[in-house]
C-alpha cells in the first residue's frame, strides 16, 4: 500500500546532542501520507527529542530532514507549522482557562474588518469550533466552554481537530494516551484513525504496545537514542514489539520473576 507512495518526511541519521548528553545517535524514519507511524520506546529513549527536531523546536546536531522531497531547515516551531507539520504535546496542548473556541484558534485567529480595524471574528470561530468538534464526536456545551472543564481525552481531541483544521499534512502526537483512562484512550485512538483516513501522516508516540497496535501502520522502536528497527503492520506481533521495547533480555528476566504478567 505505501510502497507506491513517496514519503512525506524523510529523517536521515538524525543526531542530537545536549552538551555531553547524546539524546539521539543517528535515527532514520520515513513517514508516509495516510499512514500512522508509531514511535515506541521506554522513557528517556529520545522519542520526544526526535519529534522536536521534526517540529522545529530543536535543530538536529547532525543529519538531514526532507519534507516532500526538499531539504528542510526549520528555525522556529512556527516554520514547521507553516509547512504543515503540527505537533500536539502531551501537556501543553491547551490553555485550560480559555474557552474551546479561543483555544482552537489560538495563533490563527479569524479576523473581520470594520473600517480600518480588524476584529476577532468570534461568530466564525464559534461556528467552526462547534462543527469541527462534532465531527470528532465531542459535544460541547457551547463554544465558550472553558477547556479546563473538558476531560483529558477531549482536550487531546480538540488539539488534534485544531491541527487538522489548519491544514496539517503531518500530525505529531507525543504520548497522547499516556495519562488517559480506557474510554478516553479509545476516543483518542478513534480520532487518530479518522485523521489518518483523511490522508494525513500521523506520528504517534507511545510506550503502550496495545495502543500502538490499535492504530499503527508502521512501528519504529527507539532505545537509548538509536533505532532498534522498523516494522510494518503484520510483520511483527505485539509480543515481539514489547520485547524489542524493553530490550529483550531484561524483559525475559523480569517475566521470569513476575510469572509472565508483564
Amino acid at each position: 500500500m505505501t510502497a507506491s507512495k513517496k514519503p512525506l518526511i524523510e529523517m536521515k541519521n538524525i543526531e542530537k546532542h545536549f552538551g555531553s548528553v547524546i539524546a539521539l545517535a543517528g535515527v532514520s524514519v520515513d513517514v508516509y501520507p495516510g499512514e500512522c507511524h508509531c514511535l515506541l520506546g521506554d522513557n528517556g529513549a529520545g522519542k520526544s527529542t526526535f519529534i522536536k527536531t521534526m517540529s522545529g523546536v530543536h535543530k538536529p546536531t547532525k543529519g538531514e530532514i526532507f519534507f516532500e522531497g526538499k531539504p528542510l531547515n526549520f528555525e522556529r516551531p512556527r516554520d514547521a507549522i507553516r509547512a504543515g507539520i503540527a505537533t500536539v504535546y502531551q501537556d501543553l496542548a491547551m490553555i485550560p482557562l480559555m474557552s474551546v473556541s479561543r483555544n482552537f484558534f489560538m495563533g490563527n485567529e479569524p479576523e473581520r474588518k470594520v473600517g480600518p480595524f480588524s476584529f476577532f471574528d468570534h461568530e466564525k470561530a464559534n461556528e467552526v469550533t462547534m462543527s469541527e468538534m462534532k465531527k470528532m464526536g465531542i459535544n460541547l456545551r457551547g463554544p465558550d466552554q472553558a477547556v479546563g472543564t473538558l476531560s483529558g481525552g477531549e482536550r487531546q481531541t480538540v488539539a488534534i481537530a485544531r491541527a487538522v483544521h489548519f491544514g496539517a499534512k503531518v500530525l505529531i502526537l507525543d504520548e497522547p494516551t499516556s495519562a488517559l483512562g480506557v474510554r478516553q484512550t479509545s476516543n483518542v485512538l478513534a480520532t487518530v484513525d479518522k485523521v489518518r483516513k483523511q490522508g494525513i501522516a500521523v506520528v504517534f508516540i507511545t510506550h503502550n504496545v496495545r495502543h500502538a497496535m490499535a492504530v499503527g501502520d508502521t512501528f519504529t522502536v527507539l532505545n537509548r537514542g538509536k533505532t532498534l528497527g522498523t516494522a510494518k503492520r503484520g510483520e511483527i506481533t505485539p509480543e515481539e514489539l514489547q520485547e524489542l521495547m524493553a530490550g529483550g533480555q531484561e524483559l525475559a528476566t523480569l517475566e521470569g520473576s513476575l510469572g509472565g504478567t508483564v
Partner: protein, 374 residues
C-alpha cells in the same frame, strides 16, 4: 474500539441544562458587579445626606475612581498577560517630575515636555518587559527594582536642579497649550453652564464664581479613563491580540507552540502599563499645576487591588477590563464615601481589606465554575 468511541451525536446526558439567566450571571465581572452594588447600597443607606450624591459629590468620587481606572486598565491587561508592574507608582511620580522639569525649569513648550515624558515612560516600560522576558526573572522582582530606581531619580532630580522636591508653575506654563488641554481641561462646560442656568444644577450664590454651576464640566481625566476602559475591553475581548494576551498569561509555552509571539505581547503590555501611568501623571500635573517627588506612592498596589477585585487571576490568563474598572469604582467610592460620611480615615483600610477579601473569595468561586479549575 469503535463503539466505545461512538458518543451519541446529539445529547450528552452528563451536561446539565443551564438557564440563560444563570449563564449570564456567571461571568468574570460578577464579583465586581456585586461589590459595586453593595458599596452603593451601603453609602445610600448610611451617607445619603452627606453630600456624596449631589453633583459635586458625584464628581468628587468619579474623579478619584477615574484615576484608579486609568492605572487599573494597564495593570489588568498586564496581569492577564501573566506579569506584574510594581513600578507604576514610581512611574507616575517620575513622569510628572519630568514634565515639570522640562516645561518649568528648562522652559520647553508643555506639549513637547509631555511628549518626551511619554516616550521616556514607554521606553522604561519596554525595558522592564525586555528584562523580564530575556532573563526569565519574575516581573515582581524586576519591576521592584524599577520602583526604587525611578523613585530615587524622582527625588534626586528636582533637588539637584531646583533645590526642592516639588516643582510648581506648570499650570501657568500650560496656559493655552493644546496638549496640556487634552489632559487638564474640562469638556461640556457650555452644557453644564446651561444646566446651571435652567436650575438643573446648583450654582454658586456668592464670590467671584457667582452664577457659575458648582460642577462646570467633565474633567479630561474622566474622559481618558472611559476611553482606556473601552479600548482595553475591546482589545482584550474582540481582537486577535486580546486572544494572545490571554494565551500568553494562561500558558506561555503552549502559546509559543502555536506561534503566539508571547515575548512581544508581554513587552507591549509593559509599555501599555507605563503609558497608562504617564496619562495618570500628566492629568495630575495639569490639575495640581505642580509635580511632587512623592506623587503616585503605593499606586501600583491600588491598581493591582482594583484588578483583583475585578476578577482577574493573579497568576494570569484570566480577567476582565470591565471588572477592573468596577474594582476601581469600588475603590474610589469607598475612599471618598467614608470621607463624606465622616468616618475616621484609617477605617478606609479596614473596609478595603474586607471588600478585597470578599471579592476575591467570590471571584475564585465563580472562576472555578467557569474554568473547571480545581
Amino acid at each position: 474500539m469503535s463503539d466505545s468511541a461512538n458518543v451519541d451525536a446529539n445529547v450528552d446526558e452528563r451536561v446539565k441544562e443551564m438557564s440563560s439567566f444563570r449563564k449570564s450571571l456567571i461571568r468574570p465581572e460578577l464579583g465586581g458587579i456585586c461589590g459595586t452594588v453593595a458599596v452603593f447600597v451601603f453609602f445610600a443607606l448610611f451617607a445619603f445626606d452627606s453630600g456624596m450624591f449631589n453633583s459635586q459629590g458625584i464628581l468628587n468620587w468619579s474623579i478619584v475612581s477615574a484615576q484608579f481606572m486609568i492605572i487599573a486598565v494597564g495593570a489588568c491587561l498586564l496581569m492577564i498577560a501573566g506579569e506584574f508592574d510594581l513600578s507604576v507608582g514610581s512611574m507616575i511620580g517620575f513622569a510628572g517630575m519630568m514634565i515639570a522639569i522640562f516645561s518649568v525649569t528648562l522652559g520647553w513648550p508643555v506639549w513637547l515636555s509631555i511628549l518626551i515624558a511619554f516616550v521616556m515612560c514607554v521606553a522604561i516600560g519596554a525595558l522592564n518587559g525586555i528584562i523580564v522576558v530575556r532573563t526569565g526573572l519574575p516581573s515582581f522582582i524586576v519591576t521592584l527594582a524599577s520602583l526604587f530606581i525611578l523613585r530615587g531619580f524622582t527625588i534626586y532630580l528636582p533637588q539637584t536642579v531646583e533645590r526642592k522636591t516639588i516643582i510648581g508653575g506648570v499650570r501657568d506654563a500650560a496656559e493655552g497649550d493644546w496638549l496640556g488641554a487634552i489632559f487638564g481641561s474640562k469638556i461640556f462646560t457650555g452644557l453644564f453652564q446651561w444646566f446651571g442656568d435652567i436650575g438643573l444644577l446648583a450654582t454658586f450664590a456668592r464670590g467671584n464664581r457667582a452664577g457659575q454651576p458648582v460642577v462646570d464640566g467633565i474633567p479630561m481625566l474622566i474622559v481618558w479613563a472611559l476611553i482606556l476602559v473601552v479600548f482595553g475591553h475591546i482589545l482584550l475581548t474582540r481582537t486577535k491580540f486580546g486572544n494572545w494576551i490571554f494565551a500568553s498569561g494562561g500558558d506561555a509555552q503552549a502559546a509559543r507552540y502555536v506561534g503566539v509571539p508571547v515575548n512581544r505581547v508581554k513587552i507591549l503590555m509593559f509599555m501599555f502599563t507605563a503609558f497608562c501611568a504617564c496619562i495618570f501623571a500628566t492629568c495630575q500635573v495639569m490639575e495640581f499645576g505642580s509635580a511632587g517627588a512623592d506623587r503616585g506612592l503605593l499606586k501600583e498596589f491600588e491598581a493591582i487591588i482594583a484588578v483583583v477585585i475585578g476578577g482577574a487571576l493573579l497568576t494570569g490568563g484570566y480577567g476582565s477590563v470591565i471588572g477592573a474598572a468596577l474594582g476601581a469604582l469600588i475603590f474610589g467610592v469607598v475612599q471618598q464615601g467614608l470621607f463624606f460620611a465622616g468616618v475616621e480615615s484609617s477605617l478606609f483600610r479596614v473596609f478595603l481589606g474586607v471588600i478585597l477579601l470578599l471579592a476575591v473569595i467570590l471571584n475564585t468561586y465563580i472562576r472555578r465554575m467557569i474554568t473547571g479549575e480545581k
